[in-house]
Structure formats: structure tokens, C-alpha cells
């Protein structure tokens, strides 16, 4: 088979070329229709997952101090490996909806306060036990306990009671929350036997792979769990391996050299080079993470909305996106939500760089003298450059910005959320409500813009309890507009996840929730035979 025909038939299988076009191209190459048709069916076979073999990922974000306990899971490597061995109640689907995993169904009382999850019957843990509603409740209990230091503690704080009855887990909330099912999709909430209360680091759950290698900071391995409850759908390779490669150059070299099949965190500045490597595909997904400039709304001079508006208008978002992220992202609009969230309204006017309007607002604010902006390399990749670009665009509007470069050590404890004007990052949350309640209500621990508006808090609570999606969407739109015009948040851009897959890797499905197909690349993909 000629290379071109091979390529074309695969393009059809992937849906990039129509069948009719393929037959036309094949005829042009002098191939009979019958033979061309047979080619097509063999390519279609190639598109069904190939079972077996070993799939390897080289990932950034693993340290020798990591443990398997999902509650303490904060780094990328543990996040990805957790998806291999762990099973959740729900998983975030690529379109932003929820996919039922251990929870077969979920329903709520009309006031959205009592939620009942039906637990799937045929799911088995790696140690041979069957997953029960008791295990689910025990898992939630462990994560809701302060002592577990779970990163999911915050999202479970709204729970009043939880109990297992038969094959159902019944959760009662202190306040109505229509987003409760989304909270249950948090990646920390890996269901473990007896909730992991006996040994949280055992690495036993009901995921597609059993943990075989656990060398923190070096490598992790799993072998296919024969009794995985949906074995045909996920976990195609017989074995998976994650190699921790924190150095970006080493990571790309390992992909090029074929030691790994996929990598995460391709740096924007080398994406164009990586694209030219034969066999390598750059995989991008627009995410919910953003890199804000935070102003304290209750601290002078930022307590003046004219000044905040001047600073927002003086931001050249397009230039920022082009120079800092090399275009791998989307411009922000000074509120923390973008189209990757469910219930996003895309008709809110985009704020653009307007030095004249900025100068006018600045004059109106009556402020004079320079404004101190704090930045650091750890705020986000390119944060120091971003501050300098911003300094230049502000100068065009007659606003003087003084940049203070802070040491990375202690930036999160001494500068972020402490100083009135600084750069930061937010990874985004599963729902709009989670994002707003984490950082933009009066009493939030991480209210890093000191945005304290009782009427806004009320809107957040009202939207949370609203089960009618049309009404909720309208509420979120109103909130976004208020944030955009009065908030202390300056969002130049949302970032994209940039990963890359190597030769023969199939089955990749971009997911806006997180990098590497929401951490599921190893269980979704397979190697072409």
C-alpha cells in the first residue's frame, strides 16, 4: 500500500476526510474502487483500540517526596497516575458534562439540599472486594476530616450529614448546591476500600490499572486490572508507565527518542519546533486556568474603581497572549470564567486595549505617582516578562508602574494574598460556582482581590441553589459583568494545556478540565499496531 493511500485511509477513519473524497483520491492514484474499499475497512479496524503492549508517559511535576494518598495528591504525576489506578464517582467528560463512574445515578430533593447517589453494583476493588456505598461514604468522610489534610476538604465543607443505606449514599448539605455532582468529580475523591482509612497509601481502588511500581519522583507502573468494570472502554494497554521527567528538554528528547509515548507541559516557545518532528503530534486543550493581576479592592489606591478601570483598560491582552503564551491561550475579560465552563455566556463584550480611555479614567481617579506591581518567576511561567510588557502598555496611557521582582521562595506566603497588587495563577475549578466561592466571596480564605460585596455573595448563593439552568446561566452572566466592570481582577489571558503524543499514539481526546485528556491519556490511548 502506498504511503499516500495509507495516510488517506487513516484520515477517513479519523473523520478528517469523507469516504467519497477518499475514493476519488484513490481513483486518481490508479486504484480500483474494490481495493480502495477494502483499504478503508482495514483502516477502520486500525481505529478500534489495539489491546496490549506498554504505554509510557514522561511527565513533569513529580517529586521524590510524593505519596500515593489521593488526599495529598497535588502534583501532575500523581494526578495522572491517580487516574490509572483510581476510580471516581463521576468523571468530567470532554464536553463539560458528567460521566457516571462508580455512581450509577444521582438525584436531588427539589431544594437541592439532599443528594442520593446510587452505587454501581458490579465494581470490584483491586483487592477483590466489591465497592459498596459504605466505601463511598467512608471515602468522603476521610476527605472531609481535617486530620486527613485532604486537598478536597474545602469542597466537602458544605456537607452536613452522609450515610450509606443499601446501595445508596445519601448526602445532606448545609446549603442548597446544584453543582454537588460536579464536586464529586474532584480528582482527589478516589474511592478506596473503607475510604482509605486503614492505609491511604496502599494504592488500591477500582481503576483500570493495579499499582505495580511506586518509586516517588522516578517512575510509576501499573498492570491491567483483569476485573476492571469497563475493561473494554478504558485501559487498552496491558501495562502503563509514568517516568518523572521534570526537565523540559529531557522530556521532549525522550519523546523524540521514543522512550516515552506522550509528554505533558510542552513549553510554548518550542511548540513550533516540536511540530516539525515526524510522528509527534502536539495536543492542545483550552483550559480554565488563568494568570491574574490581583488588585485589593479595599486598599488604597486600588479602592478607587476609576483607577482599577484605568489599569484594566491599559492592558494589551492580545500582545500579552502573543508574547507570553505564543498564542497558546485565549484573551481574558477581567472575570475568572471562560468558555471552558458549563453555563458560560459568550455575549459579554470583550475589553480591549484603549490607552486614551485608560488615560481618561486615570485622570478621573486623581491618582498620581507610580504604582507598585509585585511579580516573581513562580507566579506563572513568564510572569516577570508579563509585568514588564504591562509596564510598557501602561506607559502609553501615562500610568507609571514600578515592578518589584520578589524571590520565588515565600512568594505564596508573603506576597500573594498579602500585597495589594501582584501576579498569580488560578488553576480553574470544575464549575463557575466553585471558582466564585473559592476566591470571590467576602469570607473566602483566598479572596485575593479583597472583593467584598454582600450583594455579590447573595448572587453566588442564589445561583448555587438554582436548579433551572436557563435562570442560572443568566445569573452567572450578571455576576460576570459586575466582576468585569468593578472587580479587582485583571485577567490578561487563559492558558492552554500543551501536551504532545508520539508515533502511533491513538485515541487522544482533548479535555478542557486538565492536561493530558484530564489525566486520562494513559487509559484512553493505545498504540497503533
Amino acid at each position: 500500500m502506498s504511503d499516500e493511500l495509507d495516510f488517506l485511509s487513516k484520515a477517513v477513519a479519523k473523520g478528517r476526510l469523507s469516504r467519497r473524497d477518499f475514493l476519488g483520491r484513490a481513483a486518481a492514484l490508479g486504484v480500483s474502487a474494490t481495493f480502495a474499499n477494502s483499504l478503508l475497512s482495514s483502516a477502520a479496524v486500525a481505529q478500534t483500540p489495539v489491546k496490549g503492549g506498554m504505554l509510557k508517559a514522561g511527565l513533569q511535576g513529580g517529586e521524590s517526596s510524593n505519596v500515593l494518598d489521593p488526599a495529598l495528591n497535588l502534583s501532575q504525576v500523581n494526578f495522572n497516575f491517580g487516574k490509572c489506578w483510581g476510580e471516581l464517582l463521576f468523571e468530567l467528560a470532554p464536553d463539560g458534562s458528567l460521566e457516571n463512574r462508580i455512581a450509577e445515578s444521582i438525584g436531588s430533593s427539589p431544594d437541592a439540599k439532599t443528594w442520593t447517589m446510587k452505587i454501581r453494583k458490579d465494581v470490584e476493588f483491586h483487592d477483590g472486594k466489591t465497592v459498596t456505598a459504605e466505601d463511598v461514604v467512608a471515602t468522603l468522610e476521610r476527605h472531609a476530616d481535617e486530620a486527613s489534610k485532604s486537598a478536597a476538604l474545602g469542597i466537602l465543607q458544605g456537607i452536613e450529614t452522609m450515610k450509606a443505606s443499601g446501595d445508596e449514599a445519601v448526602i445532606t448539605l448545609k446549603e442548597a448546591n446544584a453543582d454537588f455532582p460536579y464536586l464529586m468529580a474532584d480528582y482527589h475523591l478516589v474511592i478506596q476500600p473503607n475510604g482509605g482509612k486503614d492505609n491511604p497509601n496502599a494504592g488500591i481502588s477500582a481503576g483500570p490499572y493495579k499499582v505495580t511500581v511506586n518509586e516517588p519522583g522516578v517512575r510509576y507502573g501499573g498492570e491491567k486490572f483483569a476485573n476492571y468494570w469497563q475493561g473494554d472502554k478504558l485501559g487498552h494497554a496491558a501495562q502503563v508507565e509514568i517516568i518523572v521527567i521534570n526537565d523540559p528538554t529531557a522530556r521532549t528528547a525522550a519523546l523524540q527518542g521514543g522512550q516515552v509515548n506522550m509528554i505533558n507541559r510542552v513549553e510554548p516557545k518550542i511548540v513550533d519546533l516540536i511540530k516539525r518532528v515526524p510522528g509527534v503530534t502536539v495536543q492542545t486543550a483550552s483550559g480554565r486556568g488563568f494568570y491574574p493581576f490581583n488588585m485589593f479592592c479595599d486598599t488604597a489606591p486600588f479602592d478607587n474603581n476609576d483607577l482599577r478601570m484605568a489599569l484594566k483598560l491599559a492592558m494589551d491582552r492580545e500582545e500579552m497572549l502573543e508574547k507570553i503564551l505564543r498564542g497558546y491561550g485565549s484573551v481574558g475579560n477581567d472575570f475568572p470564567i471562560n468558555e471552558a465552563y458549563p453555563l458560560f455566556s459568550n455575549d459579554i463584550e470583550q475589553r480591549t486595549f484603549d490607552p486614551d480611555a485608560a488615560a481618561a479614567a486615570y485622570k478621573k481617579s486623581g491618582h498620581s505617582g507610580s504604582i507598585l506591581l509585585r511579580t516573581s518567576d513562580v507566579a506563572f511561567p513568564g510572569a516577570v516578562d508579563a509585568a514588564q510588557l504591562y509596564q510598557q502598555s501602561c506607559a502609553k496611557a501615562g500610568i507609571t508602574i514600578e515592578i518589584k521582582r520578589e524571590p520565588g521562595d515565600g512568594y505564596w506566603s508573603e506576597v500573594w494574598n498579602k500585597q495589594p497588587f501582584s501576579l498569580s495563577y488560578w488553576g480553574g475549578r470544575a464549575t463557575q460556582d466553585q471558582m466564585y466561592s473559592t476566591a470571590y466571596v467576602s469570607n473566602a480564605d483566598w479572596n485575593d482581590t479583597r472583593w467584598k460585596r454582600p450583594e455579590f455573595d447573595k448572587m453566588v448563593i442564589a445561583a448555587r441553589g438554582e436548579l433551572d439552568e436557563t435562570k442560572r446561566k443568566a445569573m452567572y452572566r450578571d455576576m460576570a459583568v459586575i466582576m468585569r466592570d468593578e472587580g479587582g481582577l485583571l485577567v490578561p489571558f487563559f492558558n492552554q494545556y500543551i501536551d504532545a503524543s508520539g508515533k502511533g499514539v491513538q485515541g487522544w481526546v482533548a479535555n478542557p478540565a486538565q492536561e493530558m485528556c484530564n489525566g486520562s491519556a494513559l487509559i484512553l490511548c493505545w498504540l497503533e499496531a
Partner: protein, 319 residues
């Protein structure tokens, strides 16, 4: 062997132990004055005052520093390195695997680098000031002048990406055969060899040239020995002390100073382990690794001292 040598050796070892204690205090003080604290670093951006207080309490960070030091020293003397603060797992087993990896890489590099450096040094002296001498020096100095990450990436580019002879990443693990391990460390060992070669080669050359000025060398030449024999039999034995010194210095570097090479080749050695834990303020691990590095350094220096003593005939045959 007579008393003065034995006495000197015992002296050196005792001095080494005293030094090790001093270093342990220094390491402890150093880790105490770093800004921030462990609890803050573990929780990062997501720290709340309550969770910080809980974690500090749990990790025993509220005790005074001297109590923590003596608790640790006591454990150390009974062979217990303690538990890592971040993961709660015992340090000793985690370190032993890493240490073995580091020593394996250092040994592989040393087995190539040391004989090569000395041989090149001898050749440089034999053909001193000629084209061979110049070529050897130019090559060695050039390879040393490049930073090790540059050499590392260059090796990766050609041997791993272009020609695909060796793997780009050197992950080693239990269950690998010796040959597989050798193949895995081929590139990092080469990079390290190139980095340490020049220092040893130049010192060998200089030390031997120094001896070559002596009258007895002239005698040896006049009685008609071949030039290489003169160097090998008469000059080199008298130049051993400085050469051993510089070799030991470089061996110590191969063990304690290879963080950059470890990162580039993703080699699971001690350096990366130390860096990971320094960023998390995991004091017990930093102290344990620091002490092991100090011990390696001190032991190698003692060996160098002893070799120098033994190589010195005046000390070997006291009047």
C-alpha cells in the same frame, strides 16, 4: 609499616569524625535559617492558618531547635535517619537506593575518566610542547570549559535523538540487568567524564613535569632508558601524591556535584532527591543527605591524605 604512619592515619580518621560532627551542626543551623517553614512549603498556595497550625503541631516543628537536633543525632547514632516530614516514610530505605545509583554512576564515570586522564597526562608529558600535547590539552580544556548541561544536551541530541544509539533518559530501577544499567548511564557517564577529565589530566601533567626537572631523571635519561619508561618508572611514582589528591577531589565531585547531569538525564540519584526535599524544607532528609555528602567528601580526602603519606618514602622509612 611503622608507628608514625599508623599514628598519622588514626589522627586523620579522628579528625574526619570531628569534622563530620561540626558539619552536622552547620547543616542543622543552615536548614534552620532558611526562610519560610516546612508546613508553609508543603501546603503551598492552599495554606490556611488553621491547616498550617495543625501541620506544624503534627510535625513537631514547635519544639526548640536544639531539641530537634539532639533527637536527630541520637537517632542517627543508632542507625535511624528518621522519617521524611513530607511523606512520613522512613528516609534510610529511600536514600540507600538513591545512594547506590549515585555511586554506580560515579563509579562508571570514574573507571573511564581516571585511567584516561592519567594516561593522557603521561602522553602529554612524553610529547610535551609537541602537537600531541597541545591537542590533548586543547580537547580536555575545551570539554571542561563547556557547562555540563551543554555537553549533556549535545550528547542527547546526537546519541539519543538523531542516531538513537542510547536512551535520552537514564531511569534505572531494580530488576535491570547490569548491561542494561550500563547502557542507561552511558550518556551521563560520558558527560561527567568530559567534565572531570581536564582537571585530572592537567594536574598529572604538571606534577610529572615538576619531577622531570630533577637530577635523577636526567640520570635515567642519560643511562638510555626509553622516555616513556623514565616517566612511568621514575617520574610518576614521585608525582603520585598531588595526582591522588586531584583524583579524589574529582571523585568527590562525581558523587556530590552532579545535580545538573541528574536532572538532564532524569537519573534517580541523590542530587535530585536532595533538591526536591530542600524546596519542601524537609529538614531530616536535607540533613541526612547533607551528612552523607559530607562523609563522602571527608572519607575521600582522608584516602587522599593517606595515599600521600604512604607514597612519601621519607614517612615510609623514618630514620
Amino acid at each position: 609499616m611503622s608507628n608514625p604512619i599508623l599514628k598519622l592515619i588514626v589522627q586523620r580518621i579522628a579528625l574526619g569524625i570531628v569534622l563530620l560532627f561540626a558539619v552536622s551542626v552547620l547543616i542543622f543551623v543552615g536548614t534552620q535559617v532558611l526562610p519560610g517553614d516546612v508546613a508553609q512549603s508543603i501546603l503551598g498556595q492552599s495554606a490556611t492558618p488553621q491547616s498550617l497550625a495543625n501541620l506544624r503541631e503534627q510535625l513537631g516543628l514547635n519544639d526548640p531547635a536544639y531539641m530537634r537536633y539532639f533527637r536527630w543525632l541520637g537517632g542517627l547514632l543508632t542507625g535511624d535517619l528518621g522519617n521524611a516530614l513530607t511523606s512520613g516514610l522512613p528516609i534510610a530505605p529511600a536514600i540507600s537506593g538513591r545512594l547506590a545509583n549515585t555511586l554506580f554512576l560515579a563509579a562508571t564515570a570514574a573507571i573511564v575518566a581516571v585511567p584516561l586522564a592519567i594516561l593522557l597526562g603521561l602522553l602529554a608529558v612524553r610529547y610535551r610542547n609537541g602537537p600531541i600535547d597541545k591537542a590533548i590539552s586543547a580537547f580536555a580544556l575545551a570539554s571542561t570549559s563547556f557547562p555540563e548541561f551543554f555537553i549533556g544536551y549535545l550528547l542527547v541530541y546526537f546519541f539519543a535523538v538523531k542516531w538513537q544509539i542510547f536512551p535520552a533518559i537514564s531511569t534505572v530501577f531494580d530488576g535491570m540487568s547490569f548491561l542494561e544499567r550500563l547502557q542507561a548511564v552511558a550518556l551521563p557517564a560520558t558527560a561527567l567524564t568530559l567534565v572531570v577529565l581536564a582537571h585530572m589530566m592537567r594536574m598529572t601533567r604538571a606534577a610529572i613535569l615538576n619531577v622531570m626537572q630533577s637530577a635523577y631523571i636526567e640520570t635515567a635519561e642519560l643511562k638510555g632508558l626509553r622516555p616513556l619508561d623514565v616517566i612511568r618508572k621514575h617520574a610518576f611514582p614521585n608525582a603520585i601524591a598531588p595526582v591522588v589528591n586531584v583524583v579524589m577531589l574529582n571523585l568527590a565531585y562525581l558523587v556530590v556535584g552532579v545535580v545538573v547531569v541528574e536532572v538532564i538525564f532524569v537519573y534517580p540519584g541523590m542530587g535530585q532527591y536532595l533538591v526536591d526535599h530542600v524546596t519542601k524544607r524537609d529538614v531530616p532528609v536535607v540533613q541526612a543527605v547533607g551528612l552523607i555528602f559530607a562523609a563522602v567528601y571527608i572519607i575521600l580526602n582522608i584516602v587522599a591524605d593517606i595515599a600521600a603519606i604512604v607514597a612519601n618514602p621519607r614517612l615510609r622509612h623514618p630514620k
